[in-house]
């Protein structure tokens, strides 16, 4: 059909010019979600929930491909995103580890190598003890740790990560001293607590809720400025909102949260950033997202633009102070 060719070219040009003239950026090929944790981790769950909401509600014309790059506590994914500079088809899912990892390990990327798009939720931290533990509240537990320094075992995920940072903050604020035992992840730390092999952990709600329901572990206090949202009772007589904040319970730490963040590589068009920020905003307004937030007992907080930037700067400074005090920073 040689006759038709000029007509087709003309159409192609019109389409191309038309889309250029349109200010909105839109993906024209599949988008890759890079997950900075291994399958089954909290970040993996976060990215896959976003993926499932996008596909269920047809929020984007292009399909989504999820790849796990969890090596080096997620550094593998961030380095991958750094190399993909200018590629607006690679969305990276993580936590505050994007800007904290480069402090504690010598890595081939800097925090500024990625463009922040949004923070979609804040994961909470609690002090948990074994279900049969003699400690009824955070105060008495911390007092016991002070009375017998270096005997009570605090479990958490790997060293120099959020759990150990929080443990260090507790020690600094109260004068208690724990033995910190790093496990492969929060799930393992939860089972070790349920089995009574450690005395406490600082797991996120989602990592311990199953064991709590079964009475194998119990929460003492939550590190947030206000109590958690009211929901259905988890055990016979307690729900998330019945847990006192740590400040109420006498542990003077206002707030310790971990943001669930989304990033793009550097040098991508501003329109692309806006496109994804809008897309994620739509995701966060669906009932499925609400259900995910409730099920995992996170705090629903959507941040973009300047708000996001100032949050990151603030969180970065707070954590850096702990790293400096503990001497974790690598030169």
């Amino acid at each position: 059909m040689p006759k038709k060719t000029p007509w087709m070219i003309a159409t192609a040009i019109t389409v191309a010019v038309g889309s250029m003239a349109h200010a909105d950026w839109k993906p024209t090929k599949p988008v890759e979600f890079i997950v900075t944790s291994s399958p089954g981790g909290g970040t993996d769950n976060f990215a896959r929930v976003v993926q499932s909401i996008i596909s269920k509600n047809n929020l984007m014309d292009q399909p989504v491909v999820v790849t796990n790059k969890g090596g080096g506590s997620g550094a593998e994914g961030y380095v991958y995103a750094k190399v993909a500079t200018g590629d607006a088809y690679k969305l990276t899912f993580g936590t505050n580890n994007e800007y904290l990892l480069p402090y504690v390990a010598k890595l081939a990327y800097k925090a500024s190598d990625l463009t922040p798009v949004a923070a979609m939720a804040m994961d909470e931290f609690l002090i948990w003890v074994n279900g049969n533990s003699e400690y009824k509240d955070a105060k008495s537990y911390v007092e016991a740790a002070k009375a017998k320094p270096q005997t009570l075992k605090m479990g958490g995920s790997q060293s120099k990560d959020t759990d150990q940072t929080l443990t260090s903050l507790i020690e600094d604020a109260t004068g208690a001293k724990f033995i910190y035992v790093p496990f492969q992840g929060g799930g393992a730390a939860g089972v070790q607590l349920a089995g009574g092999h450690i005395d406490s952990n600082t797991n996120n709600p989602n990592e311990n809720v199953g064991q709590w329901k079964a009475g194998a572990v119990k929460p003492l206090c939550v590190f947030s400025p206000t109590r958690l949202a009211e929901g259905p009772k988890v055990t016979a007589d307690m729900g998330w909102a019945d847990i006192p904040t740590c400040k109420e319970a006498g542990v003077p730490i206002d707030q310790f949260q971990m943001p669930r963040t989304v990033w793009l590589p550097s040098n991508v068009p501003q329109d692309a950033v806006t496109f994804y920020a809008d897309l994620l905003k739509k995701v966060s307004q669906t009932p499925e997202w609400k259900e995910y937030i409730e099920r995992t007992s996170q705090t629903n907080r959507f941040l973009v633009g300047e708000q996001l930037k100032s949050f990151i700067a603030d969180d970065d400074a707070k954590n850096k102070k702990v790293f400096e005090r503990e001497g974790w920073i690598v030169k």
Partner: protein, 504 residues
């Protein structure tokens, strides 16, 4: 009998035409990803996961677990036919499976592998049906010292068997530990042995090492020996499959012992890889035909396969009841559970009995479906060996490299696979054993973490390994197994010198 009633209810959930169709599709897809080394079950399951978002959780988990069973069977197929394990846990199957295939007994080896795998899986499922409550409680008794003891036991029962010199075994083991240490270290939170290469951040994948050491290394040897597979002359008749089925009862001791090891390792959870190595090691020590091991002894196929699948299926229970995945595939499935709105944990059994028992019932059915499907494909797979090497050789190279790339989508891994291929070739030429390297790579970092966690807990005292009956028994057993070759050698020497002194 409460469990039995729940199981019957589970069958009523699982036994529908739709679910059986899902099982067959899952098993076939699983075999496909299983025979491609590198692609493997974890990748296959995560590729399929998005499709299940809109399914109901029972159907979704049936599809995914069936794929898992299929992949496990597919992994054994390539171990036997090409000496390339598709899954970490089928490495031990190569030791005798591949020699059997080389001797023209591919069909027999495949039949034995599939049947014993099916047997092991059934024992595993029966165990979790009968003892679901008890098993979950028992698993809670395990902490870092116990984990270390279990890994130590796996090492001890396998290492020290050697036909080669102990020095070479130690070199191989040491290299394996070094490879396992690459990447981020959990206990110190620091990077090790990455030398500034971003590609090494995630560590060296076990699969890359296996593809190189076994697949590419083996091809180099074959090329040197004259471009042919020895199995070519083998004729495959469906009759061979049936004949082999009839020989199964002969291996009842190995089947029972391996099932027990597999279930134990699945629950504790040492995992399927540890289980298959340990089972092979013990079979070699205890078998009447121990001299044939490594040269194509059928029992050397039965033992690791049974234990592998017994561990694989019984490991589902800790995943459901504790939320701790026993393998990479289980971790992906657990991610799925959360997306379908289920929280793994002790309460899952009480809140969603239809899901849990539907899954357990589907494990019975899925494994039967899988065994039937793979048995009928044996003649097809075995006839691959009759394709001239000039054609199949390059295809294997391509499949190996595609597999190496799929593991993490990095071109760096292709070079790594090539380097491991050279290492594998040199190892075989110089008669260094590869198995200790593989075992050290798979269990090395886990054993190391467990040991260092124990040392943090006890503040540096080794007495923690005898702090309770469970860990004390495990570690003592491990020490006995580890030093048995030395002790027995010493005893023999003593007896000999006694005898000679009598003569003198």
């Amino acid at each position: 009998m409460e469990n039995f009633a729940s199981l019957l209810h589970g069958f009523s959930v699982a036994l529908t035409t739709y679910h059986i169709a899902l099982m067959i599709v899952g098993v076939l897809l699983g075999i496909l990803v299983g025979v491609l080394p590198g692609l493997g079950a974890p990748n296959g399951v995560s590729l399929l996961l998005p499709l299940t978002f809109t399914m109901d959780p029972v159907s979704a988990i049936i599809l995914l677990t069936s794929m898992y069973w299929g992949a496990l069977f597919g992994g054994s197929t390539t171990s036997i036919l090409f000496n390339i394990p598709g899954e970490p846990s089928s490495v031990a199957t190569t030791f005798d499976g591949y020699p059997m295939a080389k001797q023209g007994q591919a069909a027999q080896a495949l039949t034995l592998a599939f049947l014993s795998a099916g047997f092991g899986a059934l024992v595993g499922v029966i165990l979790i049906t009968v003892l679901s409550g008890w098993v979950a409680k028992f698993a809670l008794k395990f902490s870092s010292p116990e984990y270390f003891a279990v890994y130590f036991l796996a090492f001890a029962s396998f290492v020290g068997l050697g036909g080669t010199s102990p020095f070479k075994t130690i070199v191989s083991l040491g290299l394996g530990f070094a490879f396992a240490a690459v990447g981020m270290d959990t206990v110190s939170g620091a990077l090790r042995l990455t030398y500034g290469f971003s590609d090494l951040l995630g560590g060296i994948s076990f699969l890359i090492a296996v593809i190189g050491l076994f697949g590419i290394g083996e091809l180099m040897l074959t090329m040197e020996e004259g471009l042919r597979f020895d199995g070519i002359r083998a004729r495959v008749r469906p009759r061979d499959v049936i004949k082999t089925i009839a020989t199964m009862p002969r291996y009842w001791v190995a089947l029972l012992r391996s099932s027990a090891i597999g279930c134990w390792m699945g629950i504790t959870p040492g995992g399927p890889t540890a289980a298959s190595f340990m089972s092979y090691g013990l079979a070699k020590r205890l078998s009447r035909r121990r001299d044939g091991f490594g040269k194509g002894e059928p029992e050397g196929v039965v033992a690791p396969e049974t234990a592998d699948h017994a561990a694989g299926s019984s490991a589902i229970l800790p995943m459901l009841a504790l939320g701790v995945p026993g393998s990479a595939t289980a971790a992906v499935m657990m991610g799925g559970l959360m997306i379908w709105g289920l929280n793994p944990g002790p309460m899952l059994f009480i809140e969603r009995p239809d899901f849990v028992w539907g899954l357990i019932a589907s494990m019975y059915l899925g494994n039967i479906v899988a065994v039937l499907v793979v048995l009928t494909t044996i003649p097809l797979f075995a006839s691959i060996l009759r394709i001239p090497f000039a054609i199949i050789g390059p295809i294997i190279v391509v499949v190996c490299f595609i597999g190496a790339y799929t593991v993490a989508g990095r071109s760096f891994d292709l070079w790594l696979a090539l380097v491991f291929g050279l290492v594998g070739y040199l190892f075989k030429k110089l008669d260094y054993p590869i198995a200790p390297l593989v075992l050290a790579m798979v269990l090395g970092d886990k054993a190391e973490d467990a040991f260092r966690q124990s040392m943090i807990m006890s503040r540096g005292s080794l007495s923690i390994f005898w702090s309770n009956g469970l860990v004390g028994t495990l570690i003592t057993l491990g020490l006995v197994l580890a030093f048995w070759p030395l002790v027995s050698a010493a005893l023999r020497k003593r007896a000999k010198s006694d005898a000679s002194s009598v003569i003198a």
